[in-house]
Amino acid sequence: MKGERVVGGLSCGQVLDRLSDYLDGELDVAARGAVEEHLRGCDGCARFGGELRATVRALREHLAAAPSPPARVRRRLAEALDVDPRSEE
């Protein structure tokens, strides 16, 4: 990683590897503390992490509104089940 630094006992590359687990709240207390210490002391990683979190949040928000399944989905399934051999067991 370009301009790699070690802050809080972690290199920028190590923080990058842990970033998704950190954003998902899946690091244990010690690992989370080390990442946060690095982020406090490294502007580049703090900015990158913020952008990654914002991108994932934007993805979630953008796709939250989605089309509902049209009625024909259930109708087609019912028709297929009508003629499926298993329905006649």
Binding site: T55, L59, S68, P70
Partner: protein, 198 residues
């Protein structure tokens, strides 16, 4: 007291057990509970509503026919995602030899020439178009892990089970997919997302 108040709500797993014994009504109840998120996933994963309808149909029929193989290692919800993921895979494979959909490049170009301005809604629309373009450009594996974990909100274990992966492999795939999404969205926008959204 009315019937609705006294009627016990069956769990998904009970409905699968009844489905396995050939109870079509139980299967239709199960479908009614889950078809909306499954359809939403299929639309995004397959890249269109018509393809999604076909994949959902294939997947649900596979679930009906394969209900006897449900072992309960994962939840019924995860199992249903699994069958729809597999149906989407089959459709992707079938389409692999067909001409590529021109949408990704067109969408990316539309973003590059897109609106700009201080209004937050305009900015959100611009980001939305960049996300659509980026998702269309991602590989199938990256797209589906993002959709299951980050959009549908499945847990890590559920996402891993739906994709037939171990938890560590799923996490690794998710992380790579998020990084690629970020890179592609920024390429389409010309700047990072955080600079746009408040």
């Amino acid at each position: 007291m009315g019937e609705a108040a006294t009627e016990q709500v069956e769990t998904d797993e009970e409905l699968v057990r009844r489905t396995a014994s050939g109870d079509r009504r139980a299967f239709e109840q199960l479908v009614a509970r889950h078809e909306a998120p499954l359809y939403r996933f299929a639309v995004r994963s397959c890249g269109g509503e018509r393809e999604a309808e076909d994949a959902l149909q294939d997947g649900l029929l596979a679930a009906w026919r394969g209900a006897t193989t449900f072992r309960g290692d994962a939840s019924a919800k995860t199992w249903l995602y699994q069958v729809v993921v597999n149906a989407c895979h089959r459709r992707h494979r079938r389409r692999a030899g067909e001409p590529q959909d021109p949408q990704p490049m067109e969408a990316a170009a539309a973003v590059a020439a897109g609106e700009s301005g201080p209004d937050a809604r305009v900015a959100a629309r611009e980001v939305g178009r960049a996300i659509d373009a980026a998702l269309a450009q991602l590989g199938e594996e990256a797209r589906e892990v993002l959709l299951l974990r980050d959009v549908e909100g499945l847990s890590g274990d559920e996402t891993a089970a739906a994709l037939g992966l171990g938890l560590a492999a799923m996490k690794s795939r998710l992380h790579r997919a998020r990084l690629e999404l970020k890179e592609r969205v920024e390429a389409a926008l010309g700047h990072a997302v955080e600079e746009v959204l408040p």
